[in-house]
């Protein structure tokens, strides 16, 4: 069922926590090279969807295929090794080591030595790749700074650097602009778009802020109470009555 060009296929996936149905039979297909956004109000099931794709949760029902391969229920490290990298909504970095060392340890995950006996004594040659990423995100001047000393915005960028360093095919971005000022958000959005294109990445983006996704998404799906209520191009979504209702409440309320 691996259709050409489909990188990620989520097929009727449900996830329940006890009696709570966080996701109810959600399906979507992300095409290669797309920036696909999933939006919805808080508690809509967006993060659960990400956690199911990235291996933190096992789906209760349904299938998840990455490049035709069933990845539902695999461990996070296995899914990452297949080419899916995730960033976190709450910055999740290595606080006490330098910015450069953060990215280097991420990059060496894809080095030839990784997972082999030689990793015990060899130092993989990933410094170039790490420096390049820091350059792209404007962090080169901060490379020797302990990561915890970075500003919030810089830490958000480092977060993306870590994910990109593992050379993913599919990048999962969980509210990458969370906590940024409107100016920073615009800048970050443009940067993400540019880097995704340059690297030929497929991006699945979660966002609760509509204005962020409208600008950069090729396609948008809307979740509400764990169900997909709409999917389409940004223009369609903007005018979809179901979506407006989900965000603003029913018209007569």
């Amino acid at each position: 069922m691996a259709r050409d060009g489909v990188v990620l296929e989520i097929d009727s996936v449900s996830k329940s926590f006890g009696a709570l149905a966080a996701l109810s039979s959600v399906s979507l297909a992300v095409q290669a090279g797309q920036i696909f956004s999933v939006i919805g109000p808080n508690g809509a099931g967006k993060s659960t969807l990400f956690n199911v794709v990235s291996g933190l949760h096992v789906p209760t029902r349904g299938r998840i295929r990455f490049r035709g391969r069933d990845i539902g229920g695999l461990e996070p490290e296995q899914i990452n090794r297949l080419g899916v990298a995730k960033t976190f909504q709450i910055t999740n970095i290595f606080p006490e080591i330098s910015v450069f060392e953060n990215v280097r340890v991420a990059a060496q995950s894809r080095a030839r030595e990784s997972g082999r006996l030689a990793s015990l004594w060899r130092q993989p040659d990933v410094e170039g790749a790490a420096s390049e990423l820091l350059q792209a995100f404007g962090l080169a001047a901060r490379r020797d700074e302990p990561a915890e000393n970075l500003s919030h915005g810089e830490q958000r960028y480092l977060e993306i650097c870590l994910a990109l360093a593992t050379e993913p095919t599919l990048l999962l971005l969980d509210e990458p602009t969370a906590g940024m000022t409107p100016g920073e958000t615009r800048e970050a959005t443009a940067l993400i778009r540019r880097i995704a294109t340059a690297r030929g990445l497929t991006v699945l983006l979660i966002e609760h802020d509509m204005s962020v996704v409208m600008g950069i998404s090729d396609r948008i799906a809307v979740l509400h109470f764990g169900e997909k209520i709409a999917e389409g191009a940004p223009e369609q979504i903007r005018n979809d009555p179901n979506v407006i209702e989900a965000y603003l409440g029913p018209p007569d309320a």
């Binding site: 490290e77 999740n92 290595f94 340890v105 004594w121 360093a165």
Partner: protein, 316 residues
């Protein structure tokens, strides 16, 4: 490594090698130096876990004690080849460490520490309360092991050089490990284990590997002990020994390798010096340790870092 550091390393090793030539180095002091270096090396191997990976093992005494018993059992039966003893110790400690690390690394933080402690207490209880290996007396009156037929490690001087070689090799292994791919992952695990998983690292495998390596280095140290003392007793694996090893790492400086060697040596010498003057030496040692923890939280090696404003802790 900078040229200054290389020179300093050469000087330190030369000084250690020349130590027995000092006029006051009696047999007693040679054995004291043996203990200082032995526990320094063992504390260093514990630093791989504590300082680099962020795992506190409360059961390293069992690795040490099992290594000692492995040698003792062979020596008792007249198998005096040091190489056979070391190989046997690797097997015994390795098998035990495989079980301990498999179960302990499945849990984090305090649970990891408790599991290592419980395993070690089981081993202690077995050696102490069954007569299989001599009960509370252990195995006494052992012959010296020999490096080659006709060359027994039967003097304090030979023991000293043996432990110096052991320390040197152990340091080399630890230093290579922490600067390689492997060591960088360990630091990442210490810093943020969950994130390391999402970067594609099988965290438990790395934790198991570092546990095994640390246990084997400690076990090999234990295997050298009966050659120096002519005995192996259950007291070697008492939980207080594990506690002392943790203290050695703390006072030396976490995540520095060299720090815990200094910490171990410092602890052994302090214990010996103070206990030769007063019976209540543990009170004095306790006070010194409290002072160090309160005023030098980065350990003895941290003094330099404080003065020079350098970052003290192991980086990836």
């Amino acid at each position: 490594m900078s040229r200054a550091l290389t020179w300093r390393a050469v000087l330190v090793w030369a000084a250690l090698a020349a130590l027995p030539a000092l006029p006051f180095m009696s047999k007693f002091y040679l054995l004291l130096a043996f203990d200082a270096l032995l526990f320094g090396a063992i504390a260093m191997s514990l630093d791989l876990l504590m300082g680099y990976t962020g795992l506190v093992s409360f059961g390293h005494a069992a690795f040490f004690g099992l290594g000692a018993y492995a040698t003792a059992v062979l020596l008792e039966r007249g198998i005096v080849s040091l190489w056979v003893c070391l190989l046997f110790a690797v097997l015994v400690v390795g098998l035990y460490a495989l079980v301990v690390s498999y179960f302990s690394t499945a849990r984090r933080g305090i649970y990891f520490a408790l599991l290592t402690l419980i395993f070690a207490e089981v081993v202690y209880t077995f050696f102490r309360y069954t007569q299989t290996f001599g009960g509370s007396d252990g195995i006494q009156g052992l012959p010296a092991p020999s490096l080659a037929p006709g060359f027994a490690i039967d003097t304090p001087l030979r023991n000293y050089y043996l432990v110096l070689v052991y320390l040197g090799l152990a340091y080399l292994v630890c230093r290579i490990l922490v600067t390689a791919h492997f060591g960088r992952v360990l630091v990442a695990i210490r810093e943020n284990e969950d994130r390391a998983r999402f970067l594609g690292y099988n965290v438990q495998r790395y934790k198991m590997a570092v546990c095994m390596i640390s246990a084997l280095i400690t076990g090999l140290g234990g295997a050298l002990y009966p050659g120096r003392s002519a005995f192996a007793t259950p007291d070697l694996m008492l939980w207080t020994v594990s506690g002392e090893l943790i203290i050695m790492v703390m006072i030396g400086g976490l995540g520095t390798l060299v720090g815990p060697v200094i910490g171990g040596a410092f602890f052994v010498l302090l214990q010996e010096k103070v206990s030769s003057y007063v019976d209540w030496y543990f009170i004095v040692i306790g006070l010194v340790l409290i002072f160090i923890v309160l005023f030098m939280p980065r350990g003895l090696l941290g003094i330099r870092g404080l003065l020079g404003g350098r970052r003290w802790r192991a980086t990836a």
